[in-house]
Protein backbone atom coordinates (compact mmCIF):
# COMPACT_ATOMS: atom_id res chain seq x y z
CA UNK A 1 0.00 0.00 0.00
CA UNK A 2 1.58 3.20 -1.19
CA UNK A 3 2.23 6.06 1.18
CA UNK A 4 0.77 6.83 4.56
CA UNK A 5 -2.79 5.90 3.68
CA UNK A 6 -3.51 3.25 6.29
CA UNK A 7 -5.11 5.65 8.80
CA UNK A 8 -7.54 6.96 6.17
CA UNK A 9 -8.34 3.49 4.83
CA UNK A 10 -9.16 2.26 8.34
CA UNK A 11 -11.34 5.28 9.07
CA UNK A 12 -13.09 4.92 5.72
CA UNK A 13 -13.60 1.21 6.37
CA UNK A 14 -15.17 2.01 9.74
CA UNK A 15 -17.38 4.76 8.32
CA UNK A 16 -18.60 2.79 5.29
CA UNK A 17 -19.63 -0.11 7.51
CA UNK A 18 -22.16 2.17 9.20
CA UNK A 19 -22.94 4.70 6.45
CA UNK A 20 -24.14 3.56 3.95
CA UNK A 21 -23.76 -0.23 4.34
CA UNK A 22 -25.23 -0.46 7.87
CA UNK A 23 -28.12 1.81 7.00
CA UNK A 24 -28.80 -0.24 3.88
CA UNK A 25 -28.78 -3.41 6.01
CA UNK A 26 -31.41 -2.03 8.40
CA UNK A 27 -33.55 -0.84 5.50
CA UNK A 28 -33.22 -4.24 3.79
CA UNK A 29 -34.25 -6.13 6.93
CA UNK A 30 -37.22 -3.81 7.45
CA UNK A 31 -38.43 -4.24 3.87
CA UNK A 32 -38.03 -8.03 4.20
CA UNK A 33 -40.18 -7.91 7.31
CA UNK A 34 -43.15 -7.13 5.03
CA UNK A 35 -43.08 -10.87 4.29
CA UNK A 36 -44.65 -11.49 7.70
CA UNK A 37 -47.75 -9.71 6.34
CA UNK A 38 -48.02 -12.12 3.45
CA UNK A 39 -46.68 -12.47 -0.12
CA UNK A 40 -48.76 -9.54 -1.42
CA UNK A 41 -47.33 -7.06 1.08
CA UNK A 42 -43.75 -8.23 0.43
CA UNK A 43 -44.10 -8.07 -3.35
CA UNK A 44 -45.49 -4.55 -3.12
CA UNK A 45 -42.63 -3.40 -0.87
CA UNK A 46 -40.00 -5.12 -3.05
CA UNK A 47 -41.50 -3.57 -6.19
CA UNK A 48 -41.37 -0.13 -4.57
CA UNK A 49 -37.63 -0.56 -3.85
CA UNK A 50 -37.05 -1.96 -7.32
CA UNK A 51 -38.71 1.01 -8.96
CA UNK A 52 -36.92 3.71 -7.01
CA UNK A 53 -35.61 6.44 -9.30
CA UNK A 54 -31.86 6.32 -10.10
CA UNK A 55 -31.89 2.65 -9.06
CA UNK A 56 -28.55 1.72 -10.69
CA UNK A 57 -26.86 4.84 -9.33
CA UNK A 58 -28.14 4.07 -5.83
CA UNK A 59 -27.15 0.41 -6.10
CA UNK A 60 -23.63 1.21 -7.25
CA UNK A 61 -22.78 4.10 -4.93
CA UNK A 62 -24.85 3.28 -1.87
CA UNK A 63 -24.46 -0.50 -1.87
CA UNK A 64 -21.92 -2.16 -4.15
CA UNK A 65 -18.87 0.13 -4.09
CA UNK A 66 -18.94 0.80 -0.31
CA UNK A 67 -19.60 -2.88 0.34
CA UNK A 68 -16.76 -3.93 -1.94
CA UNK A 69 -14.26 -1.66 -0.20
CA UNK A 70 -15.48 -2.71 3.24
CA UNK A 71 -15.22 -6.39 2.27
CA UNK A 72 -11.80 -6.29 0.62
CA UNK A 73 -10.17 -4.16 3.29
CA UNK A 74 -12.00 -6.16 5.96
CA UNK A 75 -10.39 -9.40 4.73
CA UNK A 76 -7.00 -7.73 5.06
CA UNK A 77 -7.82 -6.60 8.62
CA UNK A 78 -9.19 -9.99 9.64
CA UNK A 79 -6.12 -11.86 8.41
CA UNK A 80 -3.59 -9.55 10.06
CA UNK A 81 -4.96 -10.47 13.52
CA UNK A 82 -3.54 -13.34 15.54
CA UNK A 83 -6.34 -14.57 17.79
CA UNK A 84 -5.40 -15.28 21.41
CA UNK A 85 -8.69 -15.83 23.25
CA UNK A 86 -7.32 -19.03 24.78
CA UNK A 87 -4.70 -17.06 26.68
CA UNK A 88 -6.72 -13.88 27.15
CA UNK A 89 -10.37 -14.88 27.53
CA UNK A 90 -11.67 -11.36 28.15
CA UNK A 91 -15.08 -10.31 26.83
CA UNK A 92 -13.75 -7.68 24.42
CA UNK A 93 -11.13 -10.07 23.07
CA UNK A 94 -13.91 -12.54 22.24
CA UNK A 95 -15.85 -9.77 20.54
CA UNK A 96 -12.69 -8.85 18.61
CA UNK A 97 -12.43 -12.43 17.33
CA UNK A 98 -16.17 -12.77 16.65
CA UNK A 99 -16.15 -9.48 14.72
CA UNK A 100 -13.55 -10.90 12.34
CA UNK A 101 -15.09 -14.37 12.07
CA UNK A 102 -18.61 -12.99 11.46
CA UNK A 103 -17.09 -10.62 8.92
CA UNK A 104 -15.80 -13.55 6.88
CA UNK A 105 -19.06 -15.55 7.30
CA UNK A 106 -21.03 -12.45 6.30
CA UNK A 107 -18.89 -11.98 3.21
CA UNK A 108 -19.47 -15.58 2.09
CA UNK A 109 -23.19 -15.21 2.81
CA UNK A 110 -23.54 -11.88 1.03
CA UNK A 111 -21.66 -13.06 -2.07
CA UNK A 112 -23.92 -16.09 -2.31
CA UNK A 113 -27.04 -14.03 -1.57
CA UNK A 114 -26.20 -11.40 -4.19
CA UNK A 115 -25.51 -14.12 -6.76
CA UNK A 116 -28.77 -15.88 -5.97
CA UNK A 117 -30.94 -12.78 -6.10
CA UNK A 118 -29.46 -9.65 -7.72
CA UNK A 119 -27.29 -11.41 -10.32
CA UNK A 120 -30.15 -13.75 -11.24
CA UNK A 121 -32.42 -10.70 -11.51
CA UNK A 122 -29.97 -9.22 -14.01
CA UNK A 123 -30.47 -12.37 -16.09
CA UNK A 124 -34.20 -11.71 -16.05
CA UNK A 125 -35.33 -13.84 -13.12
CA UNK A 126 -38.19 -12.21 -11.21
CA UNK A 127 -37.29 -11.20 -7.65
CA UNK A 128 -40.37 -11.74 -5.51
CA UNK A 129 -41.80 -13.68 -2.58
CA UNK A 130 -41.83 -16.96 -4.56
CA UNK A 131 -38.11 -16.69 -5.35
CA UNK A 132 -37.19 -16.53 -1.65
CA UNK A 133 -39.80 -19.14 -0.74
CA UNK A 134 -38.16 -21.51 -3.28
CA UNK A 135 -34.70 -20.86 -1.86
CA UNK A 136 -35.56 -21.46 1.79
CA UNK A 137 -37.75 -24.43 0.90
CA UNK A 138 -34.48 -26.33 1.22
CA UNK A 139 -33.82 -26.75 4.97
CA UNK A 140 -30.06 -26.48 4.41
CA UNK A 141 -30.48 -23.13 2.68
CA UNK A 142 -32.83 -21.94 5.44
CA UNK A 143 -30.12 -22.80 7.98
CA UNK A 144 -27.51 -21.04 5.83
CA UNK A 145 -29.68 -17.94 5.65
CA UNK A 146 -30.34 -17.90 9.42
CA UNK A 147 -26.60 -18.20 10.16
CA UNK A 148 -25.90 -15.54 7.53
CA UNK A 149 -28.47 -13.11 8.94
CA UNK A 150 -27.32 -13.58 12.55
CA UNK A 151 -23.67 -13.14 11.60
CA UNK A 152 -24.42 -10.05 9.48
CA UNK A 153 -26.48 -8.43 12.24
CA UNK A 154 -23.84 -9.22 14.88
CA UNK A 155 -21.09 -7.80 12.67
CA UNK A 156 -23.15 -4.63 12.20
CA UNK A 157 -24.12 -4.20 15.87
CA UNK A 158 -20.64 -4.86 17.24
CA UNK A 159 -19.17 -2.82 14.38
CA UNK A 160 -21.30 0.08 15.57
CA UNK A 161 -19.57 -0.23 18.94
CA UNK A 162 -16.08 -0.15 17.44
CA UNK A 163 -17.13 2.66 15.10
CA UNK A 164 -17.93 4.76 18.19
CA UNK A 165 -14.49 3.99 19.66
CA UNK A 166 -12.58 4.39 16.39
CA UNK A 167 -13.99 7.85 15.74
CA UNK A 168 -13.45 8.95 19.32
CA UNK A 169 -17.11 9.19 20.32
CA UNK A 170 -16.98 6.81 23.29
CA UNK A 171 -13.77 7.51 25.21
CA UNK A 172 -14.49 6.71 28.86
CA UNK A 173 -14.76 3.05 29.96
CA UNK A 174 -18.26 3.82 31.26
CA UNK A 175 -19.50 5.11 27.91
CA UNK A 176 -17.95 2.11 26.15
CA UNK A 177 -19.70 -0.20 28.59
CA UNK A 178 -23.08 1.47 28.04
CA UNK A 179 -22.56 1.28 24.28
CA UNK A 180 -21.84 -2.44 24.62
CA UNK A 181 -25.31 -2.85 26.12
CA UNK A 182 -26.94 -0.62 23.52
CA UNK A 183 -25.29 -2.38 20.57
CA UNK A 184 -26.16 -5.81 21.96
CA UNK A 185 -29.81 -4.70 22.26
CA UNK A 186 -29.55 -3.62 18.61
CA UNK A 187 -28.15 -7.08 17.78
CA UNK A 188 -31.07 -8.86 19.46
CA UNK A 189 -33.70 -6.51 18.02
CA UNK A 190 -32.41 -6.70 14.41
CA UNK A 191 -31.98 -10.48 14.74
CA UNK A 192 -35.65 -10.79 15.62
CA UNK A 193 -36.59 -8.65 12.59
CA UNK A 194 -34.35 -10.69 10.28
CA UNK A 195 -35.29 -14.14 11.56
CA UNK A 196 -39.02 -13.36 11.55
CA UNK A 197 -38.71 -12.27 7.94
CA UNK A 198 -36.78 -15.32 6.72
CA UNK A 199 -39.17 -17.66 8.57
CA UNK A 200 -42.09 -15.93 6.85
CA UNK A 201 -40.72 -17.27 3.54
CA UNK A 202 -40.23 -20.81 4.86
Amino acid sequence: MAGNREFYYRRLHSLLGVVPVGIFLVQHLVVNHFATRGPEAFNRAAAFMENLPFRYFLEIFVIFLPLLFHAVYGIYIAFTAKFNTRQYGYFRNWMFMLQRITGIITLIFVVWHVYETRVQAAFGVKVNYDMMANIVDNPFMLGFYIVGILSTVFHFANGLWSFCVSWGLTVSPRSQQVFTYITMIIFVALSIVGIRAILAFA
Binding site: M1, N4, R5, E6, F7, Y8, Y9, R10, R11, I77, F79, T80, A81, K82, F83, N84, Q87, Y88, Y90, R92, N93, M95, F96, M97, Q99, W161, S162, V165, S166, W167, G168, L169, T170, V171, S172, P173, Q176
Partner: protein
Protein backbone atom coordinates in the same frame (compact mmCIF):
# COMPACT_ATOMS: atom_id res chain seq x y z
CA UNK B 1 9.33 -32.47 55.38
CA UNK B 2 9.70 -28.80 54.56
CA UNK B 3 13.39 -29.08 53.67
CA UNK B 4 12.46 -31.53 50.90
CA UNK B 5 9.93 -29.18 49.31
CA UNK B 6 10.82 -28.33 45.72
CA UNK B 7 9.78 -26.02 42.89
CA UNK B 8 9.23 -27.44 39.42
CA UNK B 9 9.84 -25.17 36.43
CA UNK B 10 9.45 -25.85 32.73
CA UNK B 11 11.39 -23.25 30.79
CA UNK B 12 11.22 -22.63 27.06
CA UNK B 13 14.81 -22.13 26.01
CA UNK B 14 16.51 -21.02 22.85
CA UNK B 15 20.26 -21.04 22.31
CA UNK B 16 20.52 -18.47 19.53
CA UNK B 17 18.19 -15.93 17.92
CA UNK B 18 17.80 -18.19 14.89
CA UNK B 19 17.78 -21.62 16.54
CA UNK B 20 14.68 -23.65 17.43
CA UNK B 21 13.19 -23.32 20.92
CA UNK B 22 13.03 -26.33 23.25
CA UNK B 23 11.72 -27.02 26.74
CA UNK B 24 13.86 -27.89 29.71
CA UNK B 25 12.58 -28.89 33.15
CA UNK B 26 14.19 -27.93 36.44
CA UNK B 27 13.49 -28.98 40.01
CA UNK B 28 15.00 -26.66 42.57
CA UNK B 29 14.83 -26.57 46.39
CA UNK B 30 12.05 -24.43 47.80
CA UNK B 31 12.77 -21.46 50.03
CA UNK B 32 10.13 -19.23 51.63
CA UNK B 33 9.16 -16.03 49.76
CA UNK B 34 10.79 -17.03 46.49
CA UNK B 35 9.93 -15.22 43.28
CA UNK B 36 10.62 -16.28 39.70
CA UNK B 37 13.87 -14.27 39.69
CA UNK B 38 15.24 -16.06 42.78
CA UNK B 39 14.24 -19.39 41.20
CA UNK B 40 16.19 -18.46 38.06
CA UNK B 41 19.13 -17.40 40.23
CA UNK B 42 19.04 -20.83 41.87
CA UNK B 43 19.24 -22.46 38.43
CA UNK B 44 22.14 -20.19 37.55
CA UNK B 45 23.91 -21.20 40.76
CA UNK B 46 23.45 -24.88 40.02
CA UNK B 47 22.56 -25.44 36.35
CA UNK B 48 21.38 -29.04 36.51
CA UNK B 49 18.06 -29.97 34.88
CA UNK B 50 15.36 -32.31 36.23
CA UNK B 51 17.05 -35.33 34.58
CA UNK B 52 20.18 -34.58 36.60
CA UNK B 53 22.16 -33.47 33.54
CA UNK B 54 24.47 -30.49 33.66
CA UNK B 55 23.19 -27.75 31.38
CA UNK B 56 23.80 -24.10 30.58
CA UNK B 57 22.29 -21.58 33.00
CA UNK B 58 19.06 -20.02 31.80
CA UNK B 59 19.55 -16.49 30.48
CA UNK B 60 17.11 -13.72 31.47
CA UNK B 61 17.12 -9.98 32.01
CA UNK B 62 16.47 -8.08 35.21
CA UNK B 63 17.23 -4.74 36.70
CA UNK B 64 15.14 -2.98 39.35
CA UNK B 65 13.53 -6.02 41.03
CA UNK B 66 10.55 -3.90 42.09
CA UNK B 67 8.33 -3.84 38.99
CA UNK B 68 9.28 -0.41 37.71
CA UNK B 69 11.88 -1.10 35.00
CA UNK B 70 10.09 -3.67 32.84
CA UNK B 71 13.27 -5.62 31.98
CA UNK B 72 12.25 -9.00 33.46
CA UNK B 73 8.97 -9.32 31.50
CA UNK B 74 8.28 -12.91 30.41
CA UNK B 75 5.32 -15.23 29.92
CA UNK B 76 4.69 -16.94 33.26
CA UNK B 77 2.07 -19.70 33.22
CA UNK B 78 0.63 -18.30 30.01
CA UNK B 79 0.41 -14.65 31.07
CA UNK B 80 3.00 -11.97 30.30
CA UNK B 81 4.20 -10.24 33.49
CA UNK B 82 7.30 -9.25 35.44
CA UNK B 83 9.29 -12.14 36.90
CA UNK B 84 10.28 -10.05 39.93
CA UNK B 85 6.66 -9.57 40.96
CA UNK B 86 5.68 -13.21 40.34
CA UNK B 87 5.80 -14.98 43.71
CA UNK B 88 6.39 -18.74 43.65
CA UNK B 89 3.83 -19.30 46.44
CA UNK B 90 1.13 -17.77 44.28
CA UNK B 91 1.92 -19.75 41.11
CA UNK B 92 0.56 -23.11 40.05
CA UNK B 93 3.30 -25.72 39.51
CA UNK B 94 4.96 -26.72 37.30
CA UNK B 95 5.71 -23.07 36.56
CA UNK B 96 6.05 -22.50 32.84
CA UNK B 97 8.39 -19.73 31.75
CA UNK B 98 8.51 -18.59 28.14
CA UNK B 99 9.98 -15.52 26.44
CA UNK B 100 7.54 -12.89 25.12
CA UNK B 101 7.73 -14.15 21.57
CA UNK B 102 6.09 -11.05 20.07
CA UNK B 103 9.63 -9.69 20.31
CA UNK B 104 12.75 -11.21 18.75
CA UNK B 105 14.21 -13.77 21.18
CA UNK B 106 17.93 -13.28 21.78
CA UNK B 107 18.50 -16.20 24.10
CA UNK B 108 16.24 -18.21 26.45
CA UNK B 109 14.06 -15.60 28.18
CA UNK B 110 15.97 -12.58 26.88
CA UNK B 111 14.11 -10.61 24.25
CA UNK B 112 14.89 -7.52 22.20
CA UNK B 113 12.45 -4.69 22.98
CA UNK B 114 14.14 -2.17 20.63
CA UNK B 115 10.96 -1.81 18.59
CA UNK B 116 9.30 -0.14 21.59
CA UNK B 117 12.09 2.39 21.98
CA UNK B 118 12.05 3.04 18.23
CA UNK B 119 8.30 3.65 18.52
CA UNK B 120 8.87 6.18 21.32
CA UNK B 121 11.28 8.03 19.05
CA UNK B 122 8.84 7.87 16.19
CA UNK B 123 6.01 9.44 18.22
CA UNK B 124 8.34 12.05 19.78
CA UNK B 125 7.67 10.89 23.34
CA UNK B 126 9.57 13.72 24.96
CA UNK B 127 9.17 17.45 25.65
CA UNK B 128 11.58 19.66 23.67
CA UNK B 129 12.84 22.40 26.00
CA UNK B 130 16.22 23.19 24.50
CA UNK B 131 16.85 26.44 22.69
CA UNK B 132 19.85 28.57 21.77
CA UNK B 133 18.98 30.80 24.74
CA UNK B 134 17.16 30.34 28.05
CA UNK B 135 13.52 29.83 27.16
CA UNK B 136 12.38 30.55 30.71
CA UNK B 137 9.79 28.58 32.66
CA UNK B 138 7.00 26.88 30.72
CA UNK B 139 3.28 27.21 31.42
CA UNK B 140 2.10 25.84 34.77
CA UNK B 141 0.30 22.53 34.97
CA UNK B 142 -2.76 22.29 37.22
CA UNK B 143 -2.20 19.88 40.12
CA UNK B 144 -5.30 17.86 39.24
CA UNK B 145 -4.00 17.31 35.75
CA UNK B 146 -0.53 16.46 37.02
CA UNK B 147 -1.99 13.70 39.19
CA UNK B 148 -3.99 12.42 36.24
CA UNK B 149 -0.94 12.46 33.96
CA UNK B 150 1.14 10.66 36.58
CA UNK B 151 -0.90 7.51 35.97
CA UNK B 152 0.06 7.57 32.29
CA UNK B 153 3.70 8.22 33.15
CA UNK B 154 3.94 4.90 35.02
CA UNK B 155 4.58 3.08 31.72
CA UNK B 156 7.87 1.17 31.95
CA UNK B 157 7.99 0.02 28.31
CA UNK B 158 7.85 -3.57 29.60
CA UNK B 159 6.14 -4.89 26.46
CA UNK B 160 3.33 -6.80 28.20
CA UNK B 161 0.61 -4.86 26.31
CA UNK B 162 2.27 -5.65 22.96
CA UNK B 163 2.52 -9.31 23.90
CA UNK B 164 -1.20 -9.42 24.79
CA UNK B 165 -2.37 -7.51 21.70
CA UNK B 166 -3.73 -9.72 18.89
CA UNK B 167 -2.85 -7.03 16.35
CA UNK B 168 0.84 -6.84 17.26
CA UNK B 169 2.36 -9.76 15.38
CA UNK B 170 4.62 -10.68 12.51
CA UNK B 171 1.86 -9.96 9.96
CA UNK B 172 1.31 -6.36 11.07
CA UNK B 173 3.46 -3.32 11.75
CA UNK B 174 1.28 -1.96 14.59
CA UNK B 175 3.43 -0.04 17.08
CA UNK B 176 1.21 -1.20 19.96
CA UNK B 177 -0.62 0.43 22.89
CA UNK B 178 2.33 1.63 25.04
CA UNK B 179 3.78 4.30 22.69
CA UNK B 180 0.26 5.49 21.81
CA UNK B 181 -0.55 6.18 25.45
CA UNK B 182 2.72 8.12 25.71
CA UNK B 183 1.46 10.45 22.97
CA UNK B 184 -1.53 11.23 25.16
CA UNK B 185 0.79 11.84 28.13
CA UNK B 186 3.11 14.23 26.32
CA UNK B 187 0.24 16.02 24.56
CA UNK B 188 -1.34 16.63 27.97
CA UNK B 189 1.76 18.44 29.24
CA UNK B 190 1.46 22.23 28.83
CA UNK B 191 4.86 22.49 27.12
CA UNK B 192 4.53 19.15 25.34
CA UNK B 193 1.22 20.32 23.88
CA UNK B 194 3.21 22.73 21.68
CA UNK B 195 4.13 19.69 19.55
CA UNK B 196 0.73 18.03 19.75
CA UNK B 197 0.00 18.00 16.02
CA UNK B 198 3.41 16.49 15.21
CA UNK B 199 2.79 13.56 17.56
CA UNK B 200 -0.75 13.06 16.29
CA UNK B 201 0.47 13.02 12.68
CA UNK B 202 3.13 10.48 13.65
CA UNK B 203 0.52 8.06 14.98
CA UNK B 204 -1.68 8.71 11.94
CA UNK B 205 1.05 7.07 9.85
CA UNK B 206 1.26 3.43 8.79
CA UNK B 207 1.33 0.98 11.68
CA UNK B 208 -0.07 3.67 13.94
CA UNK B 209 -3.20 4.28 15.95
CA UNK B 210 -5.68 3.01 13.35
CA UNK B 211 -4.32 -0.53 13.69
CA UNK B 212 -5.98 -0.91 17.08
CA UNK B 213 -8.78 -3.49 16.85
CA UNK B 214 -10.25 -2.82 20.30
CA UNK B 215 -9.63 -6.27 21.77
CA UNK B 216 -8.71 -4.34 24.94
CA UNK B 217 -6.32 -7.08 26.11
CA UNK B 218 -3.75 -4.35 26.77
CA UNK B 219 -5.69 -2.61 29.51
CA UNK B 220 -6.46 -5.96 31.14
CA UNK B 221 -2.80 -6.98 31.07
CA UNK B 222 -0.95 -3.76 31.95
CA UNK B 223 0.91 -4.38 35.25
CA UNK B 224 0.75 -0.66 36.03
CA UNK B 225 -3.00 -0.36 35.45
CA UNK B 226 -2.56 2.34 32.80
CA UNK B 227 -5.90 3.16 31.10
CA UNK B 228 -4.48 2.21 27.68
CA UNK B 229 -7.80 1.78 25.88
CA UNK B 230 -9.04 5.11 27.22
CA UNK B 231 -5.84 6.66 25.87
CA UNK B 232 -6.41 5.03 22.49
CA UNK B 233 -10.04 6.19 22.32
CA UNK B 234 -9.02 9.71 23.40
CA UNK B 235 -6.37 9.74 20.64
CA UNK B 236 -8.97 8.49 18.18
CA UNK B 237 -10.97 11.62 18.98
CA UNK B 238 -7.87 13.85 18.74
CA UNK B 239 -6.83 12.39 15.39
CA UNK B 240 -10.38 12.72 14.04
CA UNK B 241 -10.18 16.45 14.80
CA UNK B 242 -6.59 16.63 13.46
CA UNK B 243 -7.68 14.91 10.25
CA UNK B 244 -10.40 17.50 9.63
CA UNK B 245 -8.04 20.34 10.61
CA UNK B 246 -5.43 19.12 8.15
CA UNK B 247 -7.93 18.69 5.33
CA UNK B 248 -10.19 21.71 5.72
CA UNK B 249 -7.55 23.98 7.20
CA UNK B 250 -7.24 25.52 10.64
CA UNK B 251 -5.45 28.37 12.39
CA UNK B 252 -4.34 25.91 15.05
CA UNK B 253 -1.11 25.00 13.37
Amino acid sequence: MSENKTVRLIITRQDRPDSAPYEEEFVIPYRPNMNVISALMEIRRNPINAKGEKTTPVAWEMNCLEEVCGACSMVINGKPRQACAALIDKLEQPIRLEPMRTFPVIRDLVIDRSRMFDALKRVKAWIPIDGTYDLGPGPRMPERKRQWAYELSKCMTCGVCLEACPNVNSKSNFIGPAPLSQVRLFNAHPTGAMHKAERLRAIMGDGGLANCGNSQNCVQSCPKGIPLTTSIAALNRETTIQMFRDFFGSDEV
